[in-house]
């Protein structure tokens, strides 16, 4: 049925004019600041412009961003099932980070621990704020221990905790001693940093400090990797695990989708770190290389082609004909189904346009899937990324440290006396690099985008509305806060933070799911019902003869 495919309506507009249009309503100071965060992608080969990113959100400008606590508890530790995560603060923060991200987890039996369905909080009241909450926190940890006897308890600080000066780390040390289990805290007060990103950093630092490398019972496997920056939203991690397992690659740990405490504790045994979400976790990859000698590579399992490419990259790293053969066989086995699905859908999606404003890697990764559908990404940006996510890692040395990044602890990491073991000799590394293999490299989103597309950091509601009015995309990808305002305009919105009801979208099966969901969203009849017949043709005939 082609009747429901709407005609192509991509408006040719000079993006530079569009930028001026976006900025003109702002007070001068605001416009000046926003101008640095809006870029037009120049022609191929031109130098990537410097992107304003990871800077403060302007008060009063409706942002898509959340806070440090959300990044730490909600994103990173949320998907770990067997740690009792206690939010230390008034009830709100704990409540809002309770099961809203669609992180899935799977246990073999009821005997396995799974605390993800629980929300634990110290529910601080006025008294605690005035007289301090440490006593209550200690008692809460004790009560949690007596009820559940978990392997570990984590404490998350909310805004008022930082202000009143509760020392959660001292409490953690004391309780660790008293209970004999691992107890650790996160200073992830919401006001630290400028977005969720600071929370990812704080979370990863503490996991690295308190958990990684603490256990030596290692999972057996020939090709052992860690999957970093994958949160098992809508079952993504399950699909990636399925594929890797089929290839004979052993996942020691996933940070942190469907993960367990022991996975983190033994992650130092992997021979390769693969990084999905560069933004949230590149720190861990770096630190694990320094401390344990595990090299890292950037991978992407969003998009069937990207998945195949990432698998080949892993195989190339291990340099084993057996693995290469296995990987090729898996790709050959999986691809026909994917191709069948994309061939079905593509006639209805070809030539349509998309906008993506999410996270700190997803706005890049999902462009792969749209490419496979023949759709063009006309504008994209990140909610909480840094310059390196836009421009590539080579800009990291140039990034200025400001007050908002200085307050986040940088760990000093040295090679571990017992466990440091470089997985490849310098010669092997060199050989791989000479064949085009890239270690610890991420080239960022901008180089991958079509010429003249518009890149906007920390998009806000006003700009989103303007963009849609002018560029009329066929689909807009963002989060729940943006969903319904965009849809009121008659443009379907795909949530890429928690996928609405859909997913998984990773790997091969995920790609098929995505093609079908996007087909449904851009071709649903509902978008043709917005105007009633009498609004389409409001004129009245003077006389009308019923036939």
């Amino acid at each position: 049925m082609t009747a429901i495919t709407k005609k192509k309506k991509f408006v040719q507009i000079d993006p530079t004019d569009l930028v001026q249009d976006l900025l003109k309503k702002y007070p001068t100071k605001v416009a000046r600041k926003r101008a640095k965060q809006i870029m037009v992608k120049e022609a191929e080969g031109a130098a990537t412009p410097e992107m304003g990113a990871n800077v403060r959100t302007i008060p009063g400008i409706i942002t898509m961003r959340g806070c440090t606590y959300a990044g730490c508890k909600g994103v990173i530790l949320g998907p770990t099932r067997d740690i009792v995560n206690i939010t230390h603060g008034p009830i709100g923060c704990g409540f809002y980070s309770w099961l809203t991200r669609r992180n899935q987890t799977y246990t073999e039996t009821d005997a396995d621990e799974n605390f993800m369905t629980y929300a634990f909080s110290t529910d601080m009241n006025e008294n605690d704020i005035v007289f301090g909450g440490e006593k209550k926190l200690k008692q809460a940890i004790k009560e949690a221990y007596e009820l559940f006897h978990p392997k570990a308890i984590a404490i998350f600080s909310t805004c008022p905790v930082g202000l009143i000066g509760d020392d959660v780390h001292a409490v953690a040390r004391e309780m660790k001693e008293a209970l004999g289990i691992n107890v650790f805290g996160f200073s992830c007060e919401g006001y630290k940093g400028v977005s969720q990103s600071a929370g990812h950093h704080i979370a990863n630092n503490q996991i690295f400090k308190h958990v990684v490398g603490t256990k030596d019972e290692i999972k057996v496997g020939e090709f052992k990797i860690n999957l970093l920056g994958e949160y098992n939203i809508g079952g993504d991690g399950f699909e990636i695990d399925r594929i890797l397992d089929k290839c004979g690659i052993t996942v020691i740990s996933t940070f942190s989708g469907n993960s367990t405490y022991d996975q983190f504790a033994t992650s130092h045994a992997a021979d390769l770190n693969t990084v999905m979400c560069h933004r949230s976790i590149n720190y861990v990859a770096e630190m694990m290389e320094t401390k344990y000698g595990i090299p890292w590579i950037k991978v992407n399992f969003i998009g069937a082609e990207a998945t195949a490419k990432s698998l080949r990259k892993i195989a190339q790293y291990f340099d084993s004909p057996k693995l290469t053969e296995r990987v090729e066989a898996v790709i050959a086995e999986e691809m026909p189904t994917v191709k069948l699905a994309v061939d079905m859908v593509r006639p209805r999606t070809e030539g349509k346009t998309a906008m993506l404003f999410v996270g700190g890697s997803r706005a890049h990764h999902y462009q792969e899937l749209f490419k496979e559908l023949g759709m063009r990404t006309i504008s994209a940006g990140y909610e909480f990324a840094h310059r390196d996510d836009y421009e590539g890692r080579h800009v990291i040395p140039e990034i200025k440290i400001d007050a908002d990044s200085r307050n986040i602890e940088e760990l000093e990491v040295e090679p571990c006396a017992e466990s440091y073991n470089p997985r490849k000799t310098p010669e092997e590394i060199k050989k791989l690099e000479e064949s085009g293999f890239k270690f610890k490299e991420y080239e960022g989103m901008i180089p991958d985008m079509p010429t003249k597309s518009l890149v906007i950091d920390d998009l806000n509601q006003y700009e989103a509305e303007k963009l849609i009015e002018i560029m009329k995309p066929d689909i807009f990808c963002a989060g729940i806060k943006e969903k319904y305002s965009v849809q009121k305009l008659g443009i379907p919105l795909k949530q890429l933070h928690n996928y609405d009801i859909g997913g998984p979208y990773a790997g091969f099966k995920g790609a098929v799911n995505f093609y079908q969901d996007i087909d449904r969203m851009v071709n649903s009849k509902v978008w043709s019902y917005l105007k009633a017949p009498w609004q389409e043709k409001p004129e009245l005939s003077a006389t009308y003869v019923w036939e």
Partner: protein, 459 residues
């Protein structure tokens, strides 16, 4: 597999750890109330995470756009105070979004550092950052006091303090504060009053704001909401009906004490008896007669109760939610011969337990009730004394699955179902819907469990 597998049957006292809360924090309630003002942009004075969380929570529940701004505190503002951020925010908001009103609520962050929002607002006025004919109202809503219901109540108060005026000339209208209910409920309350010929000012009024149409046009400020003019006029009304002690009484008492607008505090009009009291109060305060239409709707509700009562008699129910909601539901369930036996609200308040005890005084079963309780406790009670039906928000689905109990989603938040924003549960019509849902849940369960010989077509 059980998902809440770690919840033990044995109940131990907890003094510090809250597990699976039956409440959330003040600002989300304040944000919801502010959305019931026409042309209003709620503003969260704190770090941006609060605003993001509250917008997400409301959006997930109502499936509608929820706009709100934030002061976006970083560490500096937390140390030096948030005045500069709020002044800048007010200026930016009026320039970029052009609302009629900004309704500022505080967060635990700005409360802890002691920002004085009315003083900052005054400064903004003096500096010309508030254009003529535009307004900033505010409420103090620390998250470490009360719950989302308290926040709702505080923003209702803050708005009335900011707007209500007395000209001395009566407007012939009745103020109704509907409480923390769905947009559909607010719409139904207005319809019921209009059906009796009573002129009302309903505040807040989120009907049309959080259940708006899909037209291809996005309005940051939809057509619904109580207008500034109406809000001012609340001081000239003949009286105020506050629906729900927790969410609505303070605002009504304020109008009474400050502007001599007499008030009555009623339960939420959920179910037969509470709706009867609401209708009667409307009649007395306005001098209007109860029309045939309203009497007809009442008769239909009684009729349905009579058709269904054989399924309800002495069925045990567990209930969790906001105090005003739970009190009204408990009374309704009791009135149809069901027996609420485990009742929890997360919002603190001693009166709650006394009121529930009073309503369930002649229950044939022992009744557990707790204010400032949590769902972990409720689950433990259910494990010890199973029930036939569970009523509560979305998070109850885990208990319902583990214990295999039919669940009716009611209250806030409902994340995994749609429709509540369109179908009321208040009034006689709302009663019909609730009864239908209850019977449906019970019979679906009977059908599911029936053996072949017992699987019957007729009632």
């Amino acid at each position: 597999m059980t998902l809440l597998r770690h919840t033990p049957t044995e109940i131990k006292d907890r003094s510090a750890l809250s597990i699976n809360p039956a409440k959330t924090c003040q600002p989300v309630g304040a944000m919801y109330a502010a959305l019931g003002i026409h042309g209003c942009l709620p503003h969260s004075h704190g770090s941006q995470g609060c605003c993001a969380y509250h917008r997400s929570a409301l959006t997930r529940h109502y499936k509608e756009p929820v706009s709100a701004a934030t002061s976006s505190f970083t560490e500096g503002a937390s140390v030096f105070g948030g005045q500069a951020n709020l002044l800048q925010a007010i200026n930016n908001i009026f320039t970029v979004y052009e609302p009629d009103v900004i309704a500022v609520h505080t967060t635990c962050l700005s409360e802890t550092i002691g920002d004085d929002v009315p003083q900052i607002t005054e400064k903004a006025r003096q500096e010309g950052k508030i254009p003529d004919g535009k307004f900033v109202v505010s409420a103090s809503t620390p998250s470490y006091v009360g719950s989302h219901v308290t926040g709702f109540s505080n923003m209702v108060m803050g708005t009335l303090k900011g707007f209500a005026a007395k000209t001395g000339k009566k407007n012939g209208k009745v103020n109704i504060i509907p409480g923390f209910v769905e947009p559909s409920d607010m719409e139904e309350i207005k319809r019921l009053a209009a059906a009796m010929g009573v002129k009302t000012i309903l505040f807040p009024d989120t009907s049309g704001v959080l259940n708006g149409p899909l037209t291809g046009e996005y309005k940051m400020f939809p057509d619904g909401g109580t207008t500034v003019e109406e809000l001012r006029s609340t001081g000239d009304s003949v009286g105020t009906l506050a629906l729900g002690e927790w969410a609505s009484a303070d605002g009504a008492k304020y109008l009474d004490s400050t502007h001599k607008v007499p008030c009555r505090i009623l339960d939420l009009p959920i179910g037969l008896k509470a709706t009867d009291r609401f209708v009667d109060a409307l009649r007395l305060i306005s001098g209007c007669h109860v029309t045939d239409l309203v009497a007809h709707e009442r008769g239909q509700l009684v009729d349905l109760i009579s058709d269904m009562h054989q399924y309800f008699y002495h069925k045990k129910v567990a209930l969790v939610g906001d105090p005003d909601q739970v009190i009204a539901l408990t009374e309704f369930l009791t009135s149809i011969d069901m027996c609420p036996v485990h009742i929890v609200t997360g919002t603190p308040g001693k009166k709650f337990e006394a009121r529930i005890k009073e309503i369930t005084a002649d229950s044939p079963f022992p009744v557990n009730v707790k204010a400032h309780g949590d769902m972990f406790l409720l689950h433990q009670w259910i494990k010890n004394d199973p029930v036939d039906l569970l009523i509560g928000n979305t998070y109850c689905k885990y208990m319902a699955r583990d214990e295999d109990i039919p669940l009716i989603r009611h209250g806030f938040p409902i994340l995994d179902r749609v429709g509540h924003q369109y179908f009321p549960t208040v009034g006689y019509k709302g009663g019909l819907r609730l009864l239908e849902k209850i019977l449906d849940a019970l019979l679906t369960r009977i059908d599911r469990d029936a053996t072949e010989d017992q699987f019957e077509l007729a009632m």
